[in-house]
Subunit: 360 residues, 2 copies
């Protein structure tokens, strides 16, 4: 959707940026510019105990003992990340918590305690407010997090749900975006594109009663299931070199992993596991299922890298522990470029030339 | 201001509430009703490691070693907690962080890592967004917190700034709202009413150039200074029986401390230390300075209790460590009532009959 920009604070390493500040409205700014400024500012506050600051799925903080503390947050704004007439209040609450759980999972960690703040219009119905809380609690309980506090504030504007979450990760299970090395395999869990296809179904008003595939993509969009067990299965092997969750889509997220690791990547389009329900929707809408898989976002699958020789062992570990597939889709390269190779061997840069279905 | 309700999730002990949910808009609901529902829901998610759930200034979580982990959040919404033409963006950022720091201080803890989410209208100027971040960072740095992540999201509605903060507290320094016992003295740090008077100055458009007292109350309103050093000085003595910060004003906050502790209180109106600048503003506006001190809110002073015989030692400890005054204003009583005794010995219930200057 066109309303919003969502800018994640990025790593402190990019501090020292010296962008000139203007009075331009933030919607006109390139993301990178404002991110660089925020990064530089945040880095000025980093004190002892911060092992990884802004820029990964969660910050990594020192604690006592062998565990590290993780901290992440994700804000959802009506009209940007969801629409109230598309999603139930319970789904809004579920998704707000689930995407935070996914951030902890992506580090190899376990969700611990979360706080949830809601700004709601004064005319928001009591029942809907409670349903949001119910969704937050359902997702927290499902993934082992405790909701230990929060705010509910009346507002003149759109519904805002912001969750911050802590987690624990054993020091030797921690997986960062940095760490991918040239030659490593690039893998994803499960399949991609269903959540983006679900959004497209809503945007196009596609209706097909009794279609289980339609229900699949809508559920993928509204009720994401973070890959917590899969992440643990991966982390305990010690075989992965880098990991993150796919919140914005492969075309946006792989460049982030590569930038953090200082590497490039080559992805094979026909190796990408596309959700069958996504392909079905794409055919109905005369759209490209590959575009959904690359840029639809919100699949909350895991994107990871590992040495080539470790691929079979890692696949077996995830399959045995969770039943989920782990699919190699390409390899890490030296340098900075990220290339998509199609079935005919044609190459094009990834991250350009694909329809963006928005930040939702 | 009338726009908003701010409802803090309260302790899990009040779980099992069985309010009937309606479609009434949340602005028409009594706070207690919705709080009880949210409490009951959140309590369903509480897992191992949660020592104190929703309801205190911060949640208390078990960690490794002798320290406990604290987690709190506070959301600020434009039109409810601030107005953009009254406060500078930097002040908005400062205050959003400072009130979170105050929550950690109120537990006897030290701020550690924070995350900050901002929802801003698309026409919000870049420079203002950066000034908010600058204010967040300034307050974080001032009080030893690190900003380790965040979100910036474009929105169609009012500016929203939400901060979540972690902190550490040595197990034997922890101070909760529960713990006050009949006979205990009730004390406050510093003086009350300045922040509320500052808001009144803005609401009434009071202008008096070159007045340092006017500047004092405006600074108190816009740039609160959490009592972190004072809180530490109190916590290390081990003498206080309960503590919280004064965010909503004595008339709202003391009943919360008493409810958590299962006690009542008697407060002596003429013992309450009212900020001189507050009294000056109240005279100018023909308003009651006592009302500002009781209900103005946002002073972020500490409210605490201790055995009567410990008062001099506690006062000396805070004075020596910080130069701040610690003033006895009444005593804890058995039962539930909270009474205000005026200079003539007349008694009236506290929490009723005082002008509320809003949730800001």
């Amino acid at each position: 959707m066109s309303v919003g920009q969502e800018l994640k604070l990025l790593p402190c390493e990019l501090s020292g940026a010296t962008s000139i500040v203007t009075d331009r409205p933030i919607r006109d700014l390139g993301e990178n510019r404002l991110i660089a400024r925020f990064r530089a500012l945040a880095s000025a506050s980093l004190g002892p105990g911060v092992i990884v600051g802004p820029g990964d799925d969660a910050a990594v903080l020192s604690a006592d003992g062998d565990r590290l503390l993780l901290l992440a947050c994700d804000m959802m704004v009506e009209g940007v990340h969801f629409r109230r007439h598309w999603a139930t209040p319970r789904q809004i609450g579920w998704k707000a918590m689930a995407q935070n759980v996914s951030d902890i999972a992506a580090m190899g960690g376990s969700p611990f305690a979360a706080v949830a703040s809601i700004a709601a219009p004064g005319d928001f119905p009591e029942a809907a407010a409670i349903d949001i809380a119910d969704g937050l609690v359902a997702a927290a309980s499902r993934y082992g997090a405790s909701i230990v506090g929060g705010d509910l504030v009346g507002s003149t504007g759109p519904l805002v749900v912001d969750v911050a979450i802590t987690g624990w990760v054993p020091r030797d299970h921690l997986l960062l975006r940095r760490g991918a090395a040239p030659g490593d395999a690039v893998l994803v869990t499960g399949s991609l594109g269903a959540a983006g296809a679900g959004l497209a179904v809503l945007e196009h008003g596609l209706k097909e009663p009794d279609s289980s595939l339609l229900a699949d993509v809508l559920r993928a969009h509204h009720e994401p299931q973070p890959r917590l067990n899969e992440a643990w299965a991966i982390a305990v092997t010690g075989l992965a070199s880098a990991m993150m969750d796919l919140s914005d889509g492969l075309a946006d997220d792989l460049p982030r992993l590569c930038a953090e690791s200082g590497v490039g990547a080559r992805i094979h389009a026909d190796a990408i596991p596309i959700a069958p329900a996504c392909s079905w929707v794409a055919r109905r809408l005369n759209l490209s299922d590959l575009a959904f898989a690359l840029s639809g976002g919100e699949d909350y699958e895991l994107l990871l890298t590992c040495p080539q020789q470790a691929v079979p062992q890692l696949q077996r570990a995830v399959l045995d522990a969770t039943g989920a597939a782990l699919t190699p889709i390409g390899e890490i390269t030296a340098g900075e470029g990220i290339t998509l190779v199609d079935a005919e061997g044609r190459q094009r840069p990834l991250g350009h030339g694909f329809e963006h279905f928005g930040d939702t």
